[in-house]
């Protein structure tokens, strides 16, 4: 009898505990953030994109700290709430739902093109969130279809545009090759860029699509050598198989200049190409951490973090800066922080000084910032050095 009573008591205690455990997340959800301005983030801190996610996270965190240390925006503090996504769209959406259920979110950072597309109807319905992200997909650069989102730089087609403009200036009528991966990311700018090249009087001699994750590229290199381009632009990769292309191409006597787009262009990535990567060029919308040109914001970053910070870091940092600027402009105008108002505020940004993160003052008319610069790898100095002036489209 005694035993049964104790068991009964234990059972009721367990039930109560289970009840509390179940209820606690639900009650936590009911609490809305107070006066803080919340920046939510689906950030890939594990998985294939973690190399960028960790940098983005640090950049956002640092900028939020700078603003909060200076008293916030009109007395309101910024609060950054990140969640790891592992770079999976379903987990990323779950993170979005979790963060928005627990906080009154005004600004959000997404981790992939897939997520940006999937969450778009939700953003439209919610109406209170302005979102930026790690994606530079051309499709997102459409204010009608994606009214509450923007890209923290040029879209992939614009990146190609910047490279092509540079090529047309350096060598008019040059022969250009496009090498890209068979993925959404890889195919993104190809069609539009071929037309853009034609307009600039350039000759696209070959377009090579490699299967995703391909390692052996010898047959593609032979095709590339036959086309004998003056410039080869890689897109849709981070690093592999670009070094294989360059090494084999050089061994076979190719004289092409090699180029890449944003996700290849972090200094640490390019330096992994080794001696063959010397002279590798590409488009970068931001200054590198170690740039010596005048940039007060970079000085501040270097003060906060004495060790090298990736271009993903700068991207996260700039995203937080543009978020903050939009919120500030909204509050200054006495407007509510809704997605529409925040976007209007973002689009009112004209000749804005990013503290040198981007070398020229920026104006955001639509969903992108179509500015960039061509950098070149100097393997001796182990640095990326400017190869052009800032190019605006």
């Amino acid at each position: 009898m005694q035993k049964s009573l104790t068991s009964q008591r234990r059972r009721s205690l367990m039930l109560a505990a289970a009840g509390t455990a179940l209820a606690s997340p639900l009650t936590a959800l009911a609490q809305a953030g107070g006066e803080d301005i919340v920046i939510g983030g689906s950030i890939p801190m594990t998985g294939v994109f973690a190399f960028a996610g960790i940098g983005i996270n640090a950049g956002m965190q640092d900028y939020v700290k700078i603003i909060n240390d200076a008293g916030g925006i009109k007395g309101r503090k910024l609060r950054y709430v990140p969640e790891d996504t592992g770079y999976k769209v379903d987990v990323s959406v779950a993170a979005f739902k979790k963060i928005t259920s627990q906080n009154k979110v005004n600004l959000y950072y997404g981790d992939s093109t897939g997520f940006s597309k999937t969450i778009n109807p939700e953003l439209d319905r919610n109406g209170n969130i302005l979102m930026a992200g790690a994606s530079f997909a051309t499709e997102l650069n459409d204010p009608k279809k994606y009214p509450n989102q923007f890209l923290v730089g040029p879209d992939y087609t614009e990146m190609f545009g910047i490279l092509l403009k540079h090529i047309a200036k350096e060598k008019p009528g040059a022969k250009v090759a496009f090498v890209y991966s068979d993925s959404e990311f890889g195919r993104d700018p190809i069609e539009a860029s071929e037309a853009a090249a034609k307009k600039l009087g350039l000759n696209v001699v070959v377009k090579l699509m490699t299967p995703p994750g391909s390692v052996d590229v010898s047959t593609e290199v032979i095709k590339l050598r036959r086309a004998a381009p003056d410039y080869t632009i890689f897109h849709g990769y981070v690093l592999a198989p670009i070094p294989e292309f360059i090494t084999q191409g050089k061994q076979q006597g190719m004289k092409s200049k090699w180029m890449g787009t944003f996700w290849t262009m972090d200094s640490s990535t390019v330096m992994k190409m080794g001696p063959d990567g010397d002279g590798f060029m590409g488009v970068m919308p931001y200054r590198y951490y170690y740039d010596t040109e005048k940039a007060p914001m970079l000085d501040k970053i270097r003060q906060m973090r004495p060790e090298y910070q990736s271009t993903a870091y700068i991207q996260g940092f700039l995203a937080a800066m543009l978020f903050t600027e939009s919120a500030k402009r909204c509050l200054d105008a006495g407007k509510e922080l809704t997605g529409k108002n925040l976007k209007t505020a973002l689009n009112s940004i004209k000749d804005f000084d990013t503290g040198g993160l981007i070398g020229v003052p920026i104006t955001i008319k639509g969903n992108s910032i179509p500015v960039g610069r061509v950098y070149r790898a100097d393997m001796k100095a182990q640095k990326m050095v400017a190869a052009s002036d800032w190019i605006a489209l």
Binding site: L26, L29, M45, T46, D84, D90, V93, P121, D182, S183
Partner: protein, 345 residues
């Protein structure tokens, strides 16, 4: 307490739910499922829908791998076929969602039958490798066919129920969860029929099954067909849930996820597929809540995220080591414990 179940007829013996306690719990569970959307936040509703879709697909794979013994790594590809069928029909013809889901299932089933053909010759790991091809072929088709929207994929309108768009987690819950329950009921009933028993016979020893008069060709293909029908419908629900379908939405890793789910949950039991899918989807999310309790805020997330992934991996290994029959067996043990409770514990 329950000391035994008296069965007086064959029908009672073959019943899915044989005791009153079971039926009472079933009613309670049903009531909870109905009440859940009214009390849960958007986040929990989202997870409920996601779990539900995964349960449907894992149950399909369980029919094939758990009950028929044919290992497949093509489940995600079949889901893709279902999702693309639904997306294409919804965006081009605007047909009702019930028809779209059914067609999604049928198209996936046809895909499953084709992929299942090698199963007549190869078994085990060899078959698993053969089914991987499905992933690559479907990826190629989705990326290159004219009507699949290329690598950018398709965006679709929400399913609509008499003009009401099912565009929130709350609304689509009422589509996804009932369909999944229906599929679960179907699968549970399948193994009370000749077909289901034939699957089990093939799993246990295919040559003996043939000797018993079970045509292997027909039943193996039937198992592939049924399994991929489940995947197709689950894929269709996935398409309505996320409303963007791209060739990269259904990677090989997703097939491994479902295989892991039924192994962790317990192969060859309906409950195993359910528990496995719940475990694989929910544990990483619940671990986030556990880690949220650690003070330190956003600053620590970057260090704790990999730790969380490692713990999830260790949990899977732990379950496999300590209970190779999966979560379903643990569940059964717990139930047995309560059968005689409070007299023997």
């Amino acid at each position: 307490m329950r000391i035994g179940t008296l069965k007086e007829t064959y029908v009672a013996d073959a019943a899915l739910f044989d005791s009153r306690t079971q039926k009472i719990w079933l009613v309670v569970a049903g009531a909870l499922l109905v009440l859940f959307p009214f009390v849960a936040s958007d986040y929990w509703l989202y997870l409920a829908c996601l779990v539900s879709i995964n349960v449907a697909s894992a149950t399909g794979l369980n029919i094939l791998t758990g009950y028929t013994g044919l290992v497949s790594l093509g489940q995600a590809a079949f889901m893709g076929l279902g999702a693309y069928t639904v997306a294409t029909m919804e965006s081009t013809m605007g047909t009702p969602f019930a028809l779209n889901l059914l067609c999604g299932g049928v198209v996936a089933m046809i895909g499953g039958l084709v992929v299942g053909i090698p199963s007549l010759r190869v078994k085990g790991l060899y078959l698993a490798i053969a089914t991987i091809a499905a992933s690559f072929i479907t990826h190629f088709l989705f990326a290159n066919l004219s009507f699949t929207g290329g690598t950018g994929g398709l965006s679709i309108q929400p399913a609509s129920w008499f003009g009401l768009p099912l565009d929130t987690s709350f609304r689509i819950y009422w589509l996804i969860v009932p369909v999944t329950l229906l599929m679960l009921l179907g699968a549970a009933n399948l193994f009370r029929t000749r077909i289901g028993r034939a699957f089990i016979a093939i799993r246990d020893r295919d040559i003996s099954a043939e000797v018993l008069g079970i045509p292997l060709l027909r039943y193996k293909l039937l198992s592939f067909g049924l399994s991929s029908f489940y995947a197709g419908v689950a894929g269709g629900l996935w398409a309505y849930f996320f409303r963007v379908v791209t060739p990269e939405s259904f990677p090989l890793l997703m097939s491994i996820f479902f295989l892991a789910a039924i192994i962790v949950g317990g192969m060859g039991t309906i409950l195993g597929g359910v528990l496995g899918a719940v475990f694989m989807t929910m544990v990483p999310e619940l671990l986030k809540f556990v880690f949220d309790l650690i003070p330190g805020g956003a600053g620590l997330t970057v260090f704790l995220s990999p730790v969380r992934t490692i713990i999830f991996g260790l949990l899977i290994i732990g379950f496999l080591v300590f209970e190779p029959h999966g979560l379903a067996e643990i569940w059964r043990r717990v139930r047995r414990y309560f059968h005689l409770w409070p007299f023997r514990n």
